[in-house]
């Protein structure tokens, strides 16, 4: 395929940048690891605040869109709209013009958008809806762990995927949340590392032998949960150091935004390319709750989308060839009202949009059944109706991409779409 040749060419050009041979050796060694048993990686990106799906994945082919949003609608890709018009995808749907970075993903067959997808719960509370989507149990409160943590427990470790020298329990960096606090989606019994930045995952002491002594304190032969965690932690530090993330340079053409979100995606790429055995990664980004002054082709939402798509685009470019083994999944707790409100924005809605990005997605089409925007087709007379349950998408990805045979344990109480029936077929 053309795409593959292009990326291989890109990889070779690293040599011409004059990087130190030892770095290349390390990187090359790291790149060789996945070949033993291609470890798959899932990156989940959560847009917190309910992103306005109708202006992200624009249904310009539906006249109801324009009558509902006289000031907020994005123009069709018609020539007259120029740079303010939607980026055409399939003649009915388009992307918000600020998402120019997604256009090459679509053209290269890496992008699978899904519309009218989300949670069947009627709640319009951010707090509850995020909880439901992260624990995978809509309308059930008190689920103690996140669905991704359950995945880690159910799947078990892939011994051959972990880098050489990793402890017997698998890589300490099997699951990483690039955030200050452990997000709900990864909360639970399985081991997950939450870090704000890779550089933070270190002993904070310049010089001296504090680190050696601290490690020694945890290796005095005691075996209990404290000593065990300490030993694991020092192992993790070694794994990370061997990967030498300090020397990291993104692939040519991968320009990450300077925003916190952009830098988080950069670090996820770092971890993947360093071969630390990353299987599940998570990052979130806020600022989507656009009740007021959301703007149309330009404005608040546009700025958010530009940063978001530029960051994801850079990540895909940076990962290059590896995208065959990577799936990026974007989601948000719900969408927003079809109609614009009285303050230049939109309010909490129901169904939303997701993007599944990867080397093996079924692209060229917007997935999901479009329910329409006529009054009688709306949910509670105001929101985009739901035609795909988010658990169906999550199940398909964990099954077809991550190889989990039975996904029923991930979504207790979910009866629909298991075992391939009713899945959208996002992963071809």
């Amino acid at each position: 395929m053309n795409r593959r040749v292009f990326l291989k060419g890109g990889a070779l050009s690293l040599l011409t940048l004059g990087l130190s041979p030892s770095f290349l050796r390390r990187t090359a060694a790291a790149m060789a690891l996945p070949a033993r048993d291609a470890g798959k990686t899932l990156i989940v990106l959560f847009q917190r605040g309910a992103a306005d799906a109708l202006n992200v994945l624009v249904p310009f082919g539906d006249p109801g869109y324009y009558s509902a949003r006289p000031q907020l609608a994005i123009g069709s890709p018609a020539r007259g709209n120029g740079a303010l018009g939607a980026i055409d995808l399939d003649g009915f749907f388009g992307l918000h013009p600020a998402m120019a970075s997604f256009k090459p993903l679509w053209e290269r067959g890496l992008l699978a958008p899904i519309h009218a997808v989300g949670s069947p719960s009627a709640t319009r509370s951010h707090f509850d809806a995020q909880d439901y989507m992260e624990t995978g149990t809509p309308d059930r409160k008190g689920t103690p762990d996140g669905w991704l943590n359950r995945y880690l427990a159910v799947k078990g470790t892939c011994e051959s995927c972990a880098p050489t020298g990793a402890p017997a329990g698998g890589s300490p960096f099997r699951a990483v949340a690039m955030s200050a606090q452990m997000p709900r989606i990864l909360a639970g019994a399985s081991a997950v590392v939450a870090m704000n930045a890779i550089e933070e995952f270190s002993i904070r002491a310049n010089g001296g032998d504090a680190e050696q002594r601290l490690e020694a304190l945890y290796r005095t032969g005691r075996s209990d949960v404290i000593h065990g965690s300490g030993r694991d932690m020092f192992e993790a530090l070694k794994v990370l150091r061997a990967a030498n993330p300090q020397q990291y340079r993104p692939a040519p053409g991968a320009v990450y935004p300077r925003s916190p979100f952009g830098q988080r995606l950069l670090q996820i790429a770092q971890l993947i390319k360093a071969g630390v055995g990353l299987e599940v990664a998570f990052a979130d980004v806020g600022g989507w709750d656009t009740h007021v002054n959301q703007g149309a082709a330009q404005g608040q939402l546009a700025n958010r989308l530009r940063d978001f798509s530029d960051a994801v685009g850079a990540l895909v470019t940076d990962l290059g060839d590896r995208m065959d083994d990577v799936v990026i999944l974007t989601c948000s707790e719900f969408g927003r009202t079809v109609r614009q409100n009285g303050t230049g924005g939109t309010d909490h809605g129901h169904a939303g949009a997701m993007f599944v990005i990867g080397g093996r997605v079924k692209s060229g089409t917007v997935h999901g059944r479009w329910p329409g925007l006529a009054r009688e087709q709306l949910y509670e007379g105001r929101d985009l109706a739901l035609t795909t349950d988010f658990r169906s998408v999550f199940s398909e990805i964990t099954s077809r991409h991550l190889g989990l045979a039975d996904t029923s344990a991930l979504f207790p109480g979910y009866l629909g779409g298991g075992g391939g029936n009713g899945w959208l077929g996002v992963l071809g």
Binding site: R48, G49, F127, Q130, K141, G142, P144, T157, A168, G169, A180, Q181, M182, R184, A189, S190, A191, V193, N196, E200, F201, S202, I203, R204, A205, G207, D209, A210, E211, Q212, R213, A216, L217, Y218, R219, T220, G221, R222, S223, D224, I226, G228, S229, R231, D232, M233, E235, P260, Q263, V285, G286, G287, H291, V292, N293, R339, G342, T343, R375, G381
Partner: protein, 624 residues
Amino acid sequence: MGQGPTRGTGRRGSRRVAGVAVMACAFAACAGGMGSRRATLPAGETAPAHGALREQTVDQQVQHVLNRLAFGARPQDVDALRRLGVDRWIAQQLQPEHLADHATDSLLRRYRTLAYSADRLLAEFPPPAVALAAAARRGDGPLTAVDSQRLRQQARQSVQALGELASSRVARAVLTERQLDEVLVDFWENHFNVFAGKDRTRYFLNDFDRTIRQHAMGDFRALLGAVAKSPAMLHYLDNWQSVADSGRPVLQPIPPQRAARRAQAVRRAVQLRGATSEQMARVEALQRRRRGLNENYARELMELHTLGVDGGYSQQDVVEVARALTGWTLERGAQGGGFVFRPQAHDAGAKTILGVRFPAGRGQEEGEAVLDLLAHHPRTAEFIARKLVQRFVSDSPPPALVARAAERFRLSRGNIRETVRTIVTSPEFFSADAYRAKVKSPFELVVSTLRALDAAPDVTARTAQLVSRLGQPLFGHQAPNGYPETGEAWMNTGAILNRVNFGLTVAGDRVPGVRLAQWPLYDSLRTLDRPAQVDGVIRALLGGAVSSDTREVLISGRNPFLAARGGADVLTSLDDADSTYAPDPMTPAMRPRRRGNLVGSASAPTGLAQIVGLALGAPEFQRR
């Protein structure tokens, strides 16, 4: 690699904290000094049960009560407690109302908004969305840059105001003389977890904190009732908007004029959004249909607050309890106000809960009766007793002690003080197994550090943010089950790295209020040789008993254990670059703000400071 037993994927492999190495020497010496029996005790004080042996030595008991019934020892505490006697100290702590607490009184006066009611907080620090909407309504057209700036500043002040409560939780735990009471406040605020990030809940937290404090060592039924009526809990678990399902008889039907007025208000609100008459009719129909029962609080009331998840209630019971609690709401709904009972919302039908019949036509007294039923249920006694024993004694609560504590709870009709007394004067409490067997929560770690180093209280939110960064943002636990009471949950790779770094941060004088030079022991230790310094730090910070391996590591850096196994990978030290990322944008979830000096690294501490930093990061200091 010379590492310990292999670990499976899940971290559920139970690892009992044996404490054997520590106990070996202590136990041998134990035969001599048993307990601190006194010939006579003043009335109301406790003595060990007749003939019951305390496995811990006197010195261990002193350390033990300071770690379990207080938030760790301050430099002067060990000697003072030894003189007073453990039993007398416990008796005093069980009567906090008789303990003067001037330090806390002075501390509280230094806060500005802590004493504010929810209404005042809402008025002075409105939520950004409200301020924004008000601004949008006032002005015409989009917000100016000045408006945005003002709103951002308001949002910042709002966050600051709410940070006072978190700050006060830490500072009070450090300062108060009423340590056991404060431990119970921590326990109950976790048991009755509320999440500050949910909508307006955070405005109600000052009042919630006061409510818990009022009842922390009192009567469980009173505590339960106060929490049930607290705006924080009513809001957090949605009961304020739970009303009788349509079709159910309500206690008092809405008078027709009121219903008409309300319908008109809804119509006006919908009109503002420019809806057509068809859409308006649809919305109104939906409004009527959607209102109904919310089971959230009823379920957690039984599952988490009283009976426990295996407490023998059914889904039907949850529905019936929810029905009984309809109408328990807030004066001004989402806008707050105090508790009010609305008969128009109350489901007046007959109910059966846990086999007990509740006849039709009852009002607020019905909900009260349900709380009575739950508070005095034998399963509740077991559940509460078990959690208390878990907090005070062991992650694996000894069944015999749980049974005795549950019995005391039942017989005393939910007297928290007496139940706690039973637990903390028991032989199990003073057993060898219990000694240093619990893992400190991040809150306990930070507070015990500040107490050990005699730090000045921090009335800013920075120290509370440290607790947050260690994994336990106060009022920041999203799910109603609260933070875990067991150690395993706190021990993971990232968490222990944060704790180790916390120790180094403290030793580098980068924690507010902590100056190593002001530590009372600093001057006397500074001039000694290293082994003597290490012994001093071990005595002051680690309870005086560590393994010889630990002592050796602290003195020389050599690890005899690893040396005996033929050496191990010794890491060379590395330089860490300072972090340069900007703070995160606000999201609906709580996010701690990052401070430069707590994120970047400084040069490693040396000498005595290094010993302190290592000791604070050591496994032994993670224990209580």
